[in-house]
Subunit: 344 residues, 2 copies
């Protein structure tokens, strides 16, 4: 029997850190390698997929590799619960159940593992979502970095909500439920010991109740997206691409907390590309903008919700622009993807 073990043809064809960062490199890897192999359709890549034959149910999966495991405002356990709940919520779904799968490095202390699992259990309980099944693998020292956590979730769609990244329309209003940049800068500051960790904390939290508050607006809610890897810049670019519209946002309207701005200055980062774990972007029909804003602000996790921009009536398909404080325009590119590894 021969062993079908391939050898690389080109020295430069190797996976790069940026392939996992949620930007252009990730999109390329998916488009050129993963999706063709899976014979997947060419539709928009959503945060969660509809279950075949069960259009009321959605499924979403995420593997969490954040480093360090514990950071101000959360840890890999609570993050894994919130992240998957939020991916379900972005398809207009209420979470029904989660699975949890662990890959543990030999030698991790049981105290730390217990702390992660208790945080995970508490996050699930507070969100009202049961963990119904799981798996645990252990690999030798050096074969993994401490602990990786996969969560997969099943959700049931709200009857009237049918958001999709492909449904943005000209004149839609773009809403943002809270300030940006907290999660990414917090994890990076903690990992690199930059000292910001005393001022900021991750915004990691579940958004399913916030999405439920939008449910009465039904199909006027065109797009929901949580700007995680690649930040607001990646989320808006994906929506503009999948909906074939042009999006313009106002720099002055995007809430960037002062410690985030300071950290980004020091690190040479644009807050627009920094990962968030507790806010969402909504594209809604113009007449639904005010009720949607009121609905978001009615919940604690949406109390800082603001209008940040609009879909241009006839701009170039796929383009995202920022109107700066002085009235100039600049293109908001899809981030390439190398900036912030292991943020989630």
């Amino acid at each position: 029997m021969t062993l079908d073990c391939p050898t690389p043809h080109h020295e430069d064809e190797f996976v790069l850190l940026g392939h996992g960062a949620g930007g252009r490199l990730t999109a390329e890897l998916l488009d050129r390698l993963v999706l063709p192999a899976l014979d997947a359709g060419s539709g928009p890549l959503e945060d969660a997929a509809l279950l075949p034959g069960r259009p009321d149910l959605v499924i979403s999966t995420d593997s969490f590799v954040v480093s360090p495991l514990f950071f101000p405002g959360g840890d890999i356990g609570s993050l894994a619960v919130h992240g998957t709940i939020n991916d379900l919520a972005m398809r207009g779904a209420w979470p029904l159940a989660l699975s949890v799968s662990l890959i543990v490095e030999e030698g991790l202390s049981l105290t730390e593992l217990r702390a992660v699992m208790e945080s995970l259990g508490k996050a699930a309980q507070e969100a009202g979502v049961p963990v119904v099944t799981g798996d645990t693998k252990v690999v030798g020292r050096g074969a993994a970095d401490r602990l990786f956590v996969n969560t997969t979730g099943i959700g049931e769609r709200h009857e009237l909500l049918r958001p999709s990244a492909a449904l943005a329309r000209p004149d839609d209003v773009v809403l943002l439920s809270g300030p940006i940049g907290l999660h990414g800068t917090t994890v990076l500051s903690t990992r690199e010991n930059l000292g910001f960790a005393t001022d900021i904390a991750s915004d990691s939290r579940p958004l399913h109740r916030l999405v439920r508050s939008l449910a009465p607006l039904g199909e006027a809610v065109h797009v929901l997206r949580d700007p995680t890897r690649g930040g607001l810049a990646a989320a808006l670019n994906e929506i503009a691409r999948d909906s074939r519209v042009a999006v313009e946002i106002e720099e002055s309207a995007v809430p960037v907390p002062q410690p985030v701005a300071s950290a980004c200055d020091l690190l040479g980062l644009d807050p627009l590309v920094v990962a968030n774990e507790g806010c969402l972007v909504a594209f809604v029909a113009p007449e639904a903008a005010e009720p949607a804003l009121a609905a978001l602000r009615s919940r604690p996790e949406g109390e800082s919700a603001v209008r940040i921009g609009q879909v241009l009536p006839d701009g170039p398909s796929g383009r995202v622009t920022l109107r700066t404080l002085v009235g100039a325009h600049r293109i908001v590119d899809m981030p390439l993807g190398e900036q912030l590894p292991r943020i989630c």
Copy 2:
């Protein structure tokens, strides 16, 4: 803000390789740490869980960390598809959809990644199960060993099949669908370059069609289990424990291929504890034993199905015994779990 980062209290409280091997250490880790943290019930641990409020649907998750990535008879991609399909099948379910989540080490060749993904896609297609959603994370060199793959599956239960590890009954007949030990010895031989890899191949394959062939027998099919980590010994011990029965198997009836026996001799392994990825154990009511055997043998993946034992009418709860070729009895213990790391 203080950082809730725990420090271990006891020097000896660390995760061991054996905690992930599917034996007693795994059970201890689950019982003492994972399940209490998740506030999970004390019911039997099944291969797949029922979805709350949707008793016709089951969900199962598995992270695959097999090393090497490619081995005779399969690779991490096909294994990840078969493994999760089989876990669903053991709850009497037909797979509806899979999610796939990758953790890739920086520097893995795209050629190898493509080969894994193509194998995964082919396995899913041959099984008739769509991959509907996924996730890709990349971690730095040394933070993972090449590639880990999580698959989570949703399945729909056959109307009449309701197997559970807790449903074995006195006088049940124990059936085995094929020879044991092939997967574990193949992976180990390949990894350690032992030279057996020319004689044997993994039995990795999907068992959902085999289970479907049992569906007409309905509730006479009490238990289905695929003896993966921990092998037949772990599977039978779990069933005996969860059903509170005594199980006896005949050594002469358990099919062990000659190359598996040779490899186990050399490695000092008991074939009963070696992982399988393409056979199942069925506990069926006595009157259903012959039709069940005929149904299993009607499919290529069950053509070597045999009767290997029975549930004793009144043996001690939780005990598994082997009747040897000379008529003696020996206890088949739950394996401790340190023998075969990273087999799946």
